[in-house]
Symmetry: C2
Subunit: 137 residues, 2 copies
Amino acid sequence: MQNRPNRRLTPQRRAVMRALEELGCAQDVDAIHARARRFLPRIGRVTVYRALDLLQAEGLVEALHLGDGRTRYELARTHHHHLICLRCGRLEPFEECNVAALARAARTRGFRVTGHRLELMGYCARCQIRKGPPCEA
Amino acid sequence: MQNRPNRRLTPQRRAVMRALEELGCAQDVDAIHARARRFLPRIGRVTVYRALDLLQAEGLVEALHLGDGRTRYELARTHHHHLICLRCGRLEPFEECNVAALARAARTRGFRVTGHRLELMGYCARCQIRKGPPCEA
DNA sequence: TTGAAACTGAAACTCGATTTCACTTCGCCG
DNA sequence: CGGCGAAGTGAAATCGAGTTTCAGTTTCAA
């Protein structure tokens, strides 16, 4: 997102980027908006949505849909997937990935794979031990 | 969903099951509702939602969240994943799956994997050939 | 038979996300 | 400079998938 037509690096977009950098893995729009307000108190929710769309189109941001009704966003850093705790809802990045073999299998059926998404659901270390209330990230 | 308390096999739920059987892979609620109406014209959308929740709790149905804002449902048949065409939007079931190794890797980090979701995005055979308008499933 | 629990569906509602619109800012050409 | 058009902003209105409410119906067991 450099200074080229239709893609101005405005203070608002800078604030959203900075919020994403600070927040880390897979945050929802409310969290991103709240964090961006620290740097730019008058930034509106709509602008955050628009900035996220733009950053996604630029390939700098990725969207996640986990089925809780909210879209989560994170910086498109190195390729990774997620471990999702079913009890406390925490997300951990997970680097391992061997889908190349699967992509090859799809290829034999005429399907050309250009991307993929992998999520592993289960219970995080803390939630396997504690039987009390979920820890909440 | 047999005849036990709180889980009656009503005509409505039977209609939703039959709709899911006929429709196959990953349909949204509108499609399921429309199909169920063929068998039971007065069935309401709310009842379809409730039946799907129930069937999901029973493990007979699985939900998919692909990020288009609508939840898709399909019968929980044999374990499979999806090939998603980015041009025509068609979903194909995909049986191959070797996440066992990944689950083992997660295990070494203290995370216990109980389920997973895998989606491969790309272009289906038809859409690689035709350059015209998307084929639409 | 009868009463409680389960079930249904229309209507109202919730809430994340999008659209609209009046306004401001930026880039650029004269 | 001056000023015009494109891009950007944000409050308010709107959209729409999904949920809740509630009055009425069905089922089942005692």
